[in-house]
Amino acid sequence: MARYTGFHRHNRPLALYFGAFAVFIYLPILFIPIFSFNSGWYVKFPLESFTFYWYVDLFQRETLMRAFWNSVRVALFVSVFSTLFAIPAALAIARYRMPGKAPAVSFIALPLVLPGILMGTAILGLLNWLDVTLSLATVTLGQMVICLPYAISVLLPRFIDVGRVLEEASADLGDPPLRTFFRVTLPCSLPGILACLLMTFTISFDEYFMAFFLSGAEITLPIYIWNQLRFPDDFPSLLALSTLIITFSFVLVFASLRLSGVGDSVNQERSR
């Protein structure tokens, strides 16, 4: 008879399930770095010899480097502006009583679930009708449409946490609303704002549909990758590129989760 270890005891079936889950999600991704160091052209076992060649090759491709810097620029603009626009929106939702708030918030979140291909087509149609030339600027605009609801949903819990009371205390001590915002609201929600910047940066950097529909002559990195897939001898280089992107994205997402405190509840549970 096994000894009773308490209500929150270890659960073997759940642990196995977690293992299977992790394998299902991460096994395919694991292949990318493995083959990026393989000297052969084809993704197949057995591996040939170990090489850094594909990584070195990346930096000699001018169009790739150009696409990379385009992506970085677009992602910077998208993250900064969608965060800037999301701050007042999230603050208004967190602070004010207004009629029809709940449906309005759901409506704002709608782009999160709309298929990207629909949004892309719709915005392209609109831009054509307005006779706007496609460029990185239109890509930026399109990605902001996608990132704004994400940004609001990252910021909203943070603003709710900071709470009205601290702002009331600041007003009570003599600060008018704008000063209160800069002296209390902003510093107290800084972790959430940083998390929001990182999250939207990552989304923009990886985004495909808007970049596909709305870019002109200049392209972003995901489009470049898609274009190169047609050439088999470029494939190992793409694997190397993907490895770098995966590592970079992991770091960013992990940092933003840490900042927005997603892991906190788990850690608290453990220390109990």
Partner: protein, 360 residues
């Protein structure tokens, strides 16, 4: 110092504050006492400027303030959960409001030092809010407000989160501080003991209205309604009828016989139905039938509540559903009321013990 004139505040269809008028003098320690939902916190928030008035006026030091935002009002507040800024240390919390007043930097530092000294936390300047105990946060909140030398300090249940001993200590400190600084304090509390201990005057609130404003002793000895009598201290209530005329008037208490009135309820005459209220400590219990002059009523001890320094005996009396509460001093050596449950006793009270109120 503060004049509240016919102030009402409603949220949609809920009337949180109804036609309240109060005058609070300079240097007074004034409390708003009431159960939760009585409107006391809403009234405080209206005075602080966090809520607007629906109608009425608020004058602070003679100036109409009901339409000014909080940062324009010469008052400061100690919040219920202190609202210490978590991103600032203790010094910066205390100095928060000083730049707006145009106080130069070195002077700010001196004032903060003075405040840290006053709240007996001189070593804590560099600490963060998360490194403070409840009592320490309480003091920082107090210092942060008082350093601005407000005309009025509002306190929203400031001691509610503290444990009993600390609460009693802070009560004494608050009172001492208020006396020394001469600032008007307006305290909101649901704790009647706290209100009685601290205040010069207390306004009792129920259902958004002020039902009595009085000194602590006035409230305790001369409540003007059942609500106040029941809320402040504990009280026995008896239905009664006035009998007789002039000096010979008596109260005839259902089932308990007659008792001569001692000048109470002068406006009432023969046959009026009233409510007689008697404090537990105004009743006397004796193990044998006492001699006149005072009438006595036989009863049986139903339960005993031992409270250390005193005790309360609940006596069942014939013809009355609720037992009568009687307070007695606890004796150190031989306590006559130990194991007294079930014992036959006699209840006595003098004419001065009765408070005559309107019937329900």
């Amino acid at each position: 110092m503060i004049s509240v004139r016919n102030v009402s505040k409603s949220f949609g269809k809920v009337n949180a504050v109804r036609d309240v008028s109060l005058d609070i003098g300079a240097g007074e320690f004034f409390s708003l006492l009431g159960a939760s939902g009585s409107g006391k916190t809403t009234l405080l928030r209206v005075i602080a400027g966090f809520e607007g008035v629906t109608s009425g006026k608020i004058l602070i030091d003679g100036q109409e303030m009901q339409d000014s935002p909080p940062h324009m009002r010469p008052i400061n507040m100690v919040f219920q959960n202190y609202a210490i800024f978590p991103h600032l240390n203790v010094r910066d919390n205390i100095a928060y409001g000083l730049p707006r007043l145009g106080v130069p930097k070195p002077e700010q530092a001196r004032m903060v030092d003075e405040m840290l000294e006053m709240i007996a936390l001189p070593e804590y300047g560099k600490r963060r809010a998360s490194q403070l105990s409840g009592g320490q946060m309480q003091r920082v909140a107090l210092a942060r407000a008082l350093v601005l030398k407000p005309k009025v300090l509002l306190l929203d249940e400031p001691l509610g989160a503290l444990d009993k001993q600390l609460r009693e200590q802070m009560q004494l400190e608050l009172r001492g501080l208020q006396r020394r600084m001469g600032i008007t304090f307006l305290l909101v509390t649901h704790d009647q003991e706290e209100a009685l201990t601290l205040s010069d005057r207390v306004a009792v609130m129920a259902d958004g209205a002020v039902i009595q404003v009085d000194t602590p002793a006035g409230l305790y000895d001369h409540p003007r309604s059942r609500a106040v009598a029941a809320f402040v201290g504990s009280m026995n209530f008896f239905d009664a009828t006035i009998r007789g005329q002039g000096d010979a008037r008596r109260a005839e208490i259902a089932g308990l016989g007659h008792q001569r009135l001692n000048g109470q309820a002068e406006a009432r005459s023969d046959g009026d139905r009233v409510l007689v209220a008697v404090r537990p400590e105004s009743l006397t219990l004796s193990p044998t039938a006492p001699e006149p002059p005072h009438p006595s009523v036989p009863g049986r001890v139903e339960a005993r509540q031992y409270l250390g320094g005193r005790q309360v005996l609940y006596v069942a009396v014939e013809g009355r559903a609720a037992p009568v509460a009687v307070a007695a001093v606890a004796q150190r050596d031989v306590d006559p009321w130990e194991n007294s449950e079930g014992r036959q006793v006699w209840l006595t009270w003098g004419p001065g013990a009765m408070i005559v109120l309107d019937p329900d």
